[in-house]
């Protein structure tokens, strides 16, 4: 936990809407270390996804700065991978071709990419489904394809925007375990956007808690639960304690509104 990969400093984003300017983020500062799993936790509509878009280079901040590996983010970068809330797979392409999408757009070697894709599909447990089409897969399986696609080009940073929000509760728990396993196997740095407290506590090394709009960091919590965490971890008193602390924080936030 030494070198800082991502640093956001007094970040501000203002949208112009028909009702005038909307301040989505204000004075948001946080950082991400190499290999760290950071969750950004906040109430809905607090600008979590806005933050992600800024880091992905899809949106220009109106104030402050974000640097990735020391350089300011000016646009989409090949060393960043992204996973959305919806799997957003191409229905006309096979699972394998969907995973290969970044390889194609970034002009990487296709033959090597294919081998890598098969390895990743094995890692997410879908190697038998490489030739299938997305609509033949369940929601959880589709999202795992999305994760494989997010890391195929070997990014140093993986951005995840509520990737399990659209899944049912049981699939969600299973996916949390899966993600931890994949993360531990690949050693990626992850920014994970979520509004689920247990999900954030279970997965993260550190949690940045955002306030309601305009979003800014109000608290950072280190999660010191030992890894690998299992479903039993969720019954751990320490786990419950952290969850309760965070929950109390949100109760205050809501009152504040």
């Amino acid at each position: 936990m030494s070198d800082i990969l991502l640093q956001a400093d007094k970040l501000a984003v203002t949208y112009t809407s028909t009702r005038g300017p909307v301040v989505a983020l204000q004075d948001l500062s946080t950082r991400l270390h190499q290999g760290e799993f950071l969750s950004v936790l906040g109430p809905s509509g607090c600008g979590k996804s806005t933050l992600l878009k800024v880091v992905a280079g899809l949106l220009r901040p109106s104030g402050g700065s974000v640097t990735l590996a020391g350089a300011p983010i000016t646009g989409p970068r090949p060393d960043v991978g992204i996973v959305f809330q919806q799997p957003t797979l191409l229905p006309w392409q096979t699972v394998l071709d969907n995973v290969l999408l970044p390889v194609r757009t970034l002009g990487m070697d296709l033959a090597a990419g294919r081998d890598k894709a098969m390895q990743l599909l094995k890692l997410v447990g879908l190697d038998k489904f490489a030739r299938h089409y997305p609509n033949e897969l369940s929601g959880g399986m589709q999202q795992r394809v999305g994760i494989a696609r997010g890391i195929i080009h070997d990014p140093t940073l993986l951005l995840m925007d509520e990737p399990f929000a659209a899944l049912d509760a049981m699939t969600r728990e299973h996916m949390m375990l899966e993600l931890q396993r994949i993360w531990m196997a690949t050693g990626k740095s992850v920014v994970f956007i979520t509004h689920s407290i247990p999900e954030a506590v279970f997965l993260s090394d550190r949690i940045a808690v955002l306030s309601a709009r305009p979003g800014r960091t109000i608290r950072e919590v280190e999660i010191d639960l030992p890894r690998p965490r299992t479903l039993a971890t969720m019954a751990d008193p320490r786990f419950t304690e952290i969850c309760n602390e965070l929950r109390a924080l949100f109760t205050d936030l809501v009152k504040f509104d």
Partner: protein
């Protein structure tokens, strides 16, 4: 076994309707003593068809209409597809064209038929242009709208993966819009046939539309019916081919291909 039974029903029941219709037709003519130049008997229509297609007189008309239809359709739809892409991709182009598109869209294109005959002559050229013109708009609008309705999350994703604009258009937007585009092709083929017939009505020496027009002068109603049936066959053939292509090409969206059948 049950499935076979169901399939048999879907073929058999329309045939029953057809048989009843023919019977009512024949009986009505006999009972009310309708003269042949008002309404021909089914038998005389079949005779006309036999004479036309076995002895060979109708084939030239059939192929003339088929040809103007086919070339006009390809010309109109290709142009419409390309301009539709431009329209959806370029904001400037859209701003420049939008008011004219709306104005032209609400104008009945068949009203231009006499003018097109003046410009392109009595031959097949004017028919091709007419068909192309009629096919253009549904295809153009559907292409442009389809492209504009690409899932924004998908576009974000492609941008995040540094995809080029060309890559996004050809690999993402066009496949996403395939359902819309095929709906446009489906409407265009039906309208195209109307365009061909109208152009032939206005002035032609060949074609099924001309055949109807010419036989109206001589009150040869059986020939008119034979030509009408031929046109129906052309229309059904055309839409079936497009429908088949739709199901084959847009294989991932089974629902959309069945919807297009209803909307057309």
């Amino acid at each position: 076994m049950n499935l076979m039974h169901e399939r048999l029903k879907t073929v058999l029941y329309p045939l029953i309707t057809f048989a009843v219709l023919l019977a009512v037709w024949e009986i009505a003519i006999r009972v009310f003593k309708v003269p042949n130049f008002i309404l021909p008997t089914p038998v005389s229509v079949v005779q006309a068809l036999y004479r036309g297609y076995v002895e060979g007189l109708y084939w030239q008309h059939f192929f003339f209409t088929l040809q103007s239809m086919l070339f006009g359709y390809l010309l109109g739809c290709t142009l419409a597809f390309m301009l539709g892409c431009l329209f959806a991709e370029s904001r400037t182009f859209e701003r420049m064209l939008y008011p004219f598109v709306v104005a032209l869209q609400s104008m009945p294109k068949v009203a231009l038929a006499p003018l097109i005959i003046v410009w392109f002559g009595f031959g097949i050229e004017s028919k091709i242009v007419m068909v192309a013109l009629v096919c253009f708009f549904p295809m153009f609008i559907n292409t442009a709208m389809g492209l504009k309705h690409t899932n924004p999350a998908l576009l974000d994703l492609m941008n995040a993966f540094s995809a080029s604009r060309w890559h996004i258009l050809t690999r993402i937007k066009i496949p996403s819009a395939a359902g819309h585009i095929f709906a446009g092709l489906q409407i265009a083929i039906v309208l195209g046939l109307i365009g061909a017939v109208v152009a032939e009505f206005v002035s032609s020496t060949k074609g099924l539309g001309h055949l109807i027009n010419a036989s109206a002068v001589n009150l040869e109603t059986n020939t008119m019916f034979a030509a009408l049936l031929s046109l129906a066959v052309l229309g059904i053939l055309g839409s079936q081919v497009v429908r088949l292509l739709h199901a084959k090409v847009v294989f991932w969206d089974k629902q959309a291909s069945s919807q297009a059948i209803v909307s057309e």
